[in-house]
Symmetry: D2
Subunit: 345 residues, 4 copies
């Protein structure tokens, strides 16, 4: 990586160990259920999440969309946080693929108030769609990688169970959440009927995510995955990297969190830049640079000259994401560059 790339943790390249694993991967035709490496990954993933079964998918979007398709019927209504990934970044798949209407709730740091969820559940009436799913996201991407506490998840889960409504967890970065909460990832996953998490992003696999849930759920989901074209042939190549991701990369995320914190503190000490430190919980830093006189696009463009890539997340906001390929030293370089740029204003 020539650049210090803080745009997203999706830019992570496969590690050398992943390259080796892919090279030697034993593969077969997974549509026939004959790829041993895929099978091993799926078993491992189910175990780690404490679920009965698991399924490899080619992206977080595929995992989320197949999960919603599997939980719901066309014409239902589902409850999600207003700025969640499913609503924001999945190309309107909710309407197109599942034919459901959304009821969104504005959360604080991505955390919905259980009372709002309770109020949003529809009773039976000829005018009303059926509420058939609640979606959570932990960590919450657009809120800045913030973590929903277990107590909130538990409360939502109880409301859901009382109303016989399943919960899907978009856990794209669930290992970041578990790292922050300092709990086994199972402790988070238990408050959801299905969990999607990514092998790419912070875990560095080149391609792939996992959906976990009950045996019955995954069986049904496999058919939807096939329809979407996610039934792969010798997928063991990708699964091999996924196994390395699960075995080696889930325990080191605290480094990324420390780097994010360092960066956030450094940014906060630059005149004109504000970071709400209470939201810097994992590997994402959202900064407000409006008082610098620079727009996000301008800062982003100037940083390129320093070999640094960041994403404008709005007119006067910049998002930084730390990951395996961002070292403490890089953080210092970034802070130095921004300091210089801001002073020149």
């Amino acid at each position: 990586m020539g650049y210090i790339d803080l745009r997203s943790d999706t830019v992570t390249l496969p590690t050398q160990e992943m390259r080796d694993a892919m090279y030697k991967a034993e593969v077969g035709d997974d549509v026939y259920g004959e790829d041993p490496t895929v099978k091993r990954l799926e078993e491992m993933a189910a175990n780690i999440m404490g679920k009965e079964d698991a399924m490899f998918v080619t992206s977080g979007t595929q995992g989320n969309q197949v999960s919603v398709m599997t939980h719901t019927h066309h014409g239902d209504e589902i409850i999600l946080e207003e700025r969640c990934h499913i609503i924001t970044y999945e190309v309107g798949g909710i309407g197109y693929l599942s034919g459901v209407q959304v009821k969104t709730i504005r959360g604080i740091n991505g955390i919905m108030d259980p009372k709002d969820i309770l109020n949003a559940i529809r009773m039976e009436d000829i005018h009303y769609p059926k509420t058939s799913l609640i979606c959570l996201e932990n960590t919450h991407n657009r809120a800045g990688g913030t973590v929903t506490p277990l107590s909130n998840m538990k409360e939502v889960y109880q409301i859901a169970k009382e109303h016989d409504i399943p919960i899907h967890l978009d856990g794209a970065r669930i290992f970041n959440a578990a790292t922050y909460l300092n709990v086994d990832v199972k402790e988070i996953a238990r408050y959801a009927d299905s969990v999607m998490f990514c092998l790419s992003k912070g875990l560095c696999a080149p391609v792939g995510s996992i959906v976990t849930g009950s045996k019955e759920f995954i069986k049904k989901a496999r058919k939807y995955r096939k329809m979407l074209g996610g039934g792969l042939r010798q997928a063991g190549i990708l699964a091999a990297a996924g196994i390395v991701a699960l075995e080696k990369m889930t325990k080191r995320l605290s480094e990324d969190h420390e780097n994010a914190r360092l960066l956030a503190e450094g940014l906060n000490s630059i005149k004109g830049i504000k970071v709400d430190m209470s939201t810097v919980q994992t590997n994402i830093v959202m900064s407000d640079i409006s008082a610098t006189g620079l727009t996000g696009a301008q800062l982003s463009s100037k940083l390129l000259d320093y070999g640094i890539k960041v994403n404008g997340a709005g007119d006067y906001n910049v998002r930084f994401v730390t990951h395996y390929y961002i070292k403490k030293d890089d953080i210092n370089k970034v802070l130095h560059a921004i300091n210089t740029i801001v002073k020149e204003q």
Copy 2:
């Protein structure tokens, strides 16, 4: 009508004049375009709204849903007020029939802030659905029959045009809005590309609503109407009542508004009942009875003994709707009954 029925203006029976008109209606097979009465109604409706063309539909829901189907493609995103009729009472048709994702905005008295609409419009990005429609509702049912002012509609319309996004107006009670604003209904309709309004409700026709818009829009909409089973044969029977509705019933709605105001003021003077008079603009009164010690369901049940029907609109709210069959004298009876019931608490 044995009861004083304030549950909704949908309970209005056809007037004697409508009965007569239906009896004598000249009809033909409207699927072949041969029903003269339907044609006459559609031309009259287009003229009244200042649109090129119009189409008879069997309900407001059908009119709204066909309009959204016609304006959008599956996978788009559309913007609506959070508590609008389309989202609340149309059985999740938005997702089922149009396959669109909704972006809801919380309005004040059902009126969305144009800035919120502007912010909600998506730019082009591989992750984003296309924003392809903005829906307005005037008067706004769940907000209590409140009217969106022309200035707001104009501002939203300009934003929409700048982004090449059509506007659909759910004008189920657009004549109530025009009455309140004291303008020709065309002045409201001009800020929307398609307008749905109801011949039933305050206008007393037994069945039917109208969708108006450009010739091209209505041509496309007719095909969707046929698919939904709204292509009728000798529909002139119903259209005949619709013509009476348009000719005789649109000018008298101020009576209903006066009765609503009388009722609201009377309720406000009853201890324990609160009505926000600023929202009593047309024929709907939303009251908060929590301080009476009664729930909406309890009051509703007790009023039945007095021959009065109302709708609980929530735990401690009661909704009253005035219409052609509610006379000033009925208002006094209702107030008297409620007074008595509350005192007995």
Copy 3:
């Protein structure tokens, strides 16, 4: 009716008795379940078909589409005869509204071979959609009003039951089928889980059809009807005509069949016109006029000068449909006119 209109039985106007019944109809808000005339019609219809429950819809298309929506899930496959009404004339609603794939079977006179149906049922496989519905049509419109015998229906029904697949019967003209078979209509309806039939067409009601089935089916179907905008307010106006249709018009269809037969025989005796008499079973006559030197469009146009309306059903085919407003004398006039036109060639 100034014209002798043989284009379709959909052109039938309401009878005087229907006008009277509509005029006096007792009505209420059917969305609240308060329209006594609708209720009476629905009960009567359920009884006549031998089903638990019934629902008024605004057209045969709405009845068929809602039935398919209710029986199936998006992504299923359904079996239908290749030229059935649902596939041919319902605007592609099967794909749009139900999201199902169709497996069509070519029938003889609209009658599918039960073996073909058996072969078309999918077994469980990751690549296959689930077969979730079989649709029949009796009488079969495009085949020329031909009747599927009870023995065939019974055989198909048994196959369906063995595979736990429901049957929907498009019985738009089921009373014509019953008349031809000389059985109670229940004897046909028993081999289907849901039956749609029309009050318009041969029965002369201005608007409306009925869906019948189990209580559970109709309950679910009502919600889909609402979504499509088929939940009407004071629908009793239309239902009143429907009651007359059921009470007075179902027993007289043999007249229409006799007239059709007369017409067919007459046509067959005209040089250049061929009618397959084996298909002239009910009120539809399909004729091949290719040897007259006239196209269907030409004959149709020339007949207009005689005050006669017919439909070209293809380049050299003409379709004639008899109904309540076609008397024996009209048949003679039509034959005379065609004879004259053909001779002039």
Copy 4:
């Protein structure tokens, strides 16, 4: 590969050269358009097919489904051969994902009569869906790998252009067709607006297919691919194998065809087994074993003891597919084994 696996060419493992290429592949985040290997593959594929642009997808099903989604609108009708892959093996995606109704035509050896296609195109009518796509499949899988001649494709293409209807070609095995026809693959691709072909199957890549078409088509298709979860991150790993597939594996398919022919002739000489040699054109052999007294399942099971895998393609049919890992010597072993098994009957 311990087994002689003739079930399908999807079982092919990546070659050593593919393993090497994947190991060394230069990758980036393809959602940001930064994966150089994916870009190289897509450019190469577009060139080879003579199209403006190309897009990598994770399976043939994804390529076909995204193509149909891109060409059509919900509610359209599309024309396909009755037993094509899209209808048979893609989990009903046509209805679910594109909301279209299908009009199927029975072909001979998978080849539709252009006259049947012409007749199937709908004219404009309020009752009719719009015909918006024709799908071809060359080679045709279920017909036994048979090839549609260029003359037929050209004729269909002309009909399509006259009616302004696009053509999608499911060319999963288009290189087998080109090999049989002894033409450049462009000569086939020119008669279609979009072409999907597989890098897996006969070309041995572990995962992946390609969709090619105009720039505008591919741009739109990329968004649907993203929605289905087919937007991958470091997809260059898979693309690297795809490049080897295109560079090295497309020219050797005649070997597979020769082996298929050898096998077919050998089978034909076994008493009780019939192969229609006229259909043995590429790498698939369909055999009728009914006269051996064995079912497909029985033969398949007995062959397993010989280390041979085949697929029953029906009660008394067995399908054999040759590919890179099937050598001439294997064909002899298979024939010997079948001969022995049949004699033992």
